[in-house]
Symmetry: C2
Subunit: 460 residues, 2 copies
C-alpha cells in the first residue's frame, strides 16, 4: 500500500515550480487587493484562504480564494458595494460577478480560477453574519494545526475522494469538502488510519472537535445525516451536512475495497468512454425500459441553487407518477446551459381500467354508488372485494406515463421555483430512443453514457 | 316494505299442492328406507332432515335429504358398506355414489334431488364421529323451536340471501347455510329485525346460542371469521365458519341498501345477460388489461374439495406473479367438467433490466460483486443507490407474465393436490382476446360475462 500511496503523492503533489508560481500569483493578488483598498479609501484587508493557503492543494486544483475582510460594524449594503468595487478593480475586465448567499467576483488570473469574496471579519465564529464569514476562522484553525507531514495525508484523502467521485461539498456533488478532508486528517492523523476507520463506519458516525455533545444527542440533533463532524469553530454546525447517504456509503465501500486490495485505480480511475448515439439506442432497447427525458433552458442561477431545485422537481415527478400507478426505475438530473431531468420507467403504460375503492361496510356509502353507477367511465361494479370493500372498476384518465409527466409539467406543483419558471417558458420531451438526438451535445452524450453504464469508478 | 315482503312470500312459499307432493315423496322414501333396512337385515332408521323437514324450503329448492341413522357402536366400514347398500337399494338405478367426508348416494326421484346419507345416531353432538352425524341434532334443535310464523321469516331471509348471491355454505359459494338462516331467524325473531341488525354489523359480529364465551374470547378463538354464530348443539363450532369476508360484507351492504330503499330486486335480481364472443373481445380491448386464462380437465372430486384447491392454486399463481414483479388486477376460478383459473393482469410485460440489491454498507460484500461484475446478464453496476445499498442492474429472466405462469404451471408448488395432478395431465392457456374461443361453451361464456360485467345483483 505504501508504494501506491507514494506513487499517488508523486502525481498529485504540486512541484516546486508550481508552488512558486502559485505563490507569485497569490502575492500579486494580495498586493493588488491592498492597493485597490488604498486607492478606493476602503478599510479592509485581504486573506488567502482555502487549500492554497493551507498547502493542501492538488496539482489539478487551480483555485485561489482571496477573501476581503471588512470591519464587523460596516452596514451590509456598504460591504457589498465597496467589497464588489475592490474585487472588480482587482479582477479587471475578465472578472464576473456571481451570487451565492452573497455577491463575489470570479476571474481567470495567471492560469488560476480566482474567487474574490468580500466578507466580515468577525471575532467569534458563532456570531457570523453569513456563511462566508466563517471561512477565515476555518482557515486559521487548519493552518495552526496542520503540520507539513499531515498535508500529504490530506492530499491522499482528497485524491481518493476525487477518484471515487465524492469530492466536493457543492450541492451538485453532495460530497466531502476540502475542509472536511482536512478535519478528518487532523482527527485520524493519516490517510491509512482514515481508510481503516471509515471501512467500519455506519450511518450516524459522529466526530466532535468541540466535545459539545454526547453521541446520542448529536444523532438526534443531526438526524438523517450519515456523517456528523462538529465544526471546531461552531459547535452548532455539522461540517458534513451536505454529504448524501449515497456518497457516504460510496466512501465506506471504497475504503473496504481499498483495504482488501489497494490499487491506483481508486485514486485514478479509468476514464469513462462516451457511447455513440447508436450504442445508446441499442442499450436503451436492451434495457426494455422507457426513457422520458425532459429538457429546458437552465435558469440563470448558480449550481448550488439549481441542483437542489432540479432534484426537487425530479422527486415531484416521481411522486406524481407513483400516485398515478407508474414506477420509475431510475432517474437523474444534469445541467449546463440546458437542464435535463431523465426518468427511466419500468412501467410506462397502464390498463384503461382502474380500481376505485369505496368505504368499508362500517361507513355509510353516501352518494358513492349513485355517483359512479351511471357514470360513462364505469367498466364494472359496484361489487365487494376480498377485503369487504365496495369497489367500482372505472376508466383511468391517464394511461401513459408521458401523459402524466405532461400534466405535471403543466401544473408544476412542488417543483423548484426557478426550474418551474424555466419550464413554464418551454420544454421538450425526448422519449425512448429519441434521446439519442440529444447526443450531438458531447456533454449530454457523456451524461447519458454515464447514466447507462453507471458503475463505481474503481470497478470501471 | 311489508307489501314487498308479502309479495316475496307469495312467490317463494310452496303451494299446498307442492307441499303435498313433497310429503308424498318423502313418505314414500322413508318407507322405502325402512323396507330396505328390513330386507337387508340392517339395524338403522331413516330421518328426514334439512329444509324439507323444517318447512323452510323455497319453491325453487327441490332437495330432499334423508339421513340413515346407524347405532353408534357399528364399525365405520360396516356403516359405510351397509349404509351405501341401503341407499343404493332405495335410489335404484338412477342413484350415484358421491364422496364428501363420507360416501352417500344421490338420485333424482319424483322430481326432487334426493340425498341418502348414512350416519351415526350419536346422543351427544359434541361426540360425533364425522360432520354428517351433527345434522340430526341440528334438525331436532330447529324443529323444536321454529314456529310456523318464523318459517315464513326464514323463507324471506333465504330468498334475500339467494337474490344477493350469498346463499349456500358450500365452498364454491362461501355464503350463508340454510341452518345459519334458521338460527339467525330464531335469534332476531323476524326478517326485518335481521336486516336492521345486520345493517350495522362489522367484521367479528358474535352471536352465542350456548352462552359459552365472552365476546372478546370468541373473537380471539374464531379470529378472522367475520361472523361468529356459536352452534347451539356444539359450542366449539362457528356455524358461519364458511362465510367469506366478501359475502359477509355483501350481505351487510345489501341490508343497508334495502333499508334505505326496499325493492323486489333484492330478492329477484335481474338475470345476467351473457355477452357475445364479439362483445367479450371488445370489453377486453377496452379494459386494456391482459387476460390469462388457464383451462384443464376438472379432477374427479366434489366441488367442496375442488373449489378450495382452485382458489389455493389461484393464490399461488398470484403470489408467484407478484414476486416476479407482475400485478394481477382481478382473478376468478370456475369449474364444471372443465376448470378455469382466470387471471387479469394490469402489468403483463416488464423491462429486461431489473435491480439486484446487495448488502448495506455495514455488511461485508463477500463475493456479491465478483459474482455479478463479469456476468453476461449485467447491464450496469455496481453502484450505490440513494439508500446507501450496493446494487447491480441485471437481466430479468422472465419478462412476460405468461412466461411466469408457464413456469409456475410446470413446477406446481403450493397448488391444490388434485388440481396440480390435473394440470400435470395437460392444460391450455388462452391469452387476451383468445378467451373468446372458450365461449362456444355457454356456461363458460356466462362465467366470463359475469366476470367482465361484475356487479352486485341488486344494482344490475
Amino acid at each position: 500500500m505504501d508504494e501506491i500511496l507514494n506513487a499517488v503523492l508523486k502525481r498529485v503533489r504540486p512541484t516546486e515550480a508550481e508552488q512558486m508560481r502559485l505563490q507569485e500569483v497569490v502575492a500579486s493578488l494580495l498586493r493588488r487587493v491592498e492597493e485597490a483598498c488604498a486607492r478606493l479609501g476602503v478599510n479592509a484587508k485581504p486573506m488567502l484562504v482555502g487549500s492554497a493557503a493551507r498547502g493542501t492543494w492538488l496539482r489539478t486544483e487551480r483555485d485561489i480564494d482571496i477573501f476581503i475582510l471588512f470591519p464587523e460594524d460596516l452596514p451590509r449594503e456598504e460591504l457589498e458595494r465597496t467589497g464588489l468595487a475592490v474585487a472588480r478593480e482587482v479582477a479587471g475586465r475578465t472578472g464576473k460577478e456571481r451570487y451565492a448567499e452573497h455577491p463575489y467576483v470570479t476571474a481567470k488570473i495567471g492560469g488560476f480560477e480566482v474567487d474574490l469574496v468580500p466578507c466580515y471579519d468577525v471575532a467569534d465564529a458563532r456570531r457570523i453574519k453569513s456563511a462566508v464569514d466563517r471561512t477565515p476562522h476555518h482557515n486559521r484553525y487548519i493552518i495552526e494545526r496542520l503540520t507539513p507531514e499531515l498535508r500529504d495525508e490530506v492530499l491522499l484523502l482528497k485524491q481518493f475522494l476525487s477518484g471515487i467521485g465524492v469530492y466536493g461539498a457543492e450541492l451538485k456533488v453532495q460530497g466531502f469538502s476540502g475542509y472536511l478532508s482536512e478535519l478528518l486528517t487532523l482527527h485520524y492523523r493519516s490517510f491509512k488510519n482514515i481508510v481503516v476507520a471509515a471501512s467500519t463506519w455506519s450511518p450516524g458516525t459522529f466526530i466532535d472537535f468541540t466535545n459539545s455533545y454526547a453521541p446520542e444527542e448529536a444523532k438526534a440533533l443531526f438526524a438523517g445525516q450519515p456523517l456528523i463532524v462538529i465544526d471546531p469553530v461552531d459547535a452548532n454546525r455539522n461540517v458534513a451536512a451536505a454529504l448524501s447517504t449515497q456518497n457516504f456509503a460510496t466512501f465506506v465501500r471504497a475504503c473496504q475495497d481499498f483495504l482488501r486490495q489497494p490499487h491506483m485505480r481508486f485514486f485514478f480511475p479509468r476514464s469513462l468512454r462516451s457511447l455513440s448515439p447508436k450504442e445508446i439506442q441499442k442499450k436503451i432497447r436492451q434495457r426494455g425500459t422507457t426513457f422520458i427525458c425532459i429538457t429546458f433552458k437552465s435558469p440563470g442561477v448558480v449550481p448550488d441553487i439549481l441542483y437542489p431545485q432540479l432534484r426537487k422537481t425530479e422527486r415531484a415527478l416521481i411522486a406524481r407518477l407513483f400516485r398515478s400507478g407508474f414506477e420509475v426505475f431510475r432517474s437523474d438530473v444534469w445541467s449546463n446551459g440546458r437542464s435535463i431531468i431523465l426518468l427511466e420507467l419500468s412501467i410506462a403504460k397502464l390498463p384503461d381500467v382502474r380500481l376505485h375503492r369505496g368505504p368499508p361496510i362500517t361507513v355509510e356509502v353516501g352518494d358513492f354508488i349513485e355517483k359512479h353507477l351511471r357514470s360513462k367511465s364505469k367498466f364494472a361494479g359496484p361489487f365487494i372485494d376480498g377485503g369487504g370493500r365496495l369497489v367500482f372498476e372505472i376508466k383511468r384518465e391517464l394511461t401513459s406515463a408521458r401523459q402524466v409527466v405532461e400534466r405535471a409539467l403543466a401544473e408544476r406543483s412542488a417543483f423548484g421555483k426557478h426550474v418551474a419558471e424555466a419550464i413554464a417558458e418551454g420544454y421538450k420531451i425526448y422519449e425512448g430512443e429519441e434521446i439519442a438526438k440529444l447526443c450531438s451535445d458531447a456533454a449530454i452524450r457523456k451524461f447519458i453514457s454515464e447514466y447507462i453504464t453507471r458503475c463505481l469508478p474503481w470497478y470501471r
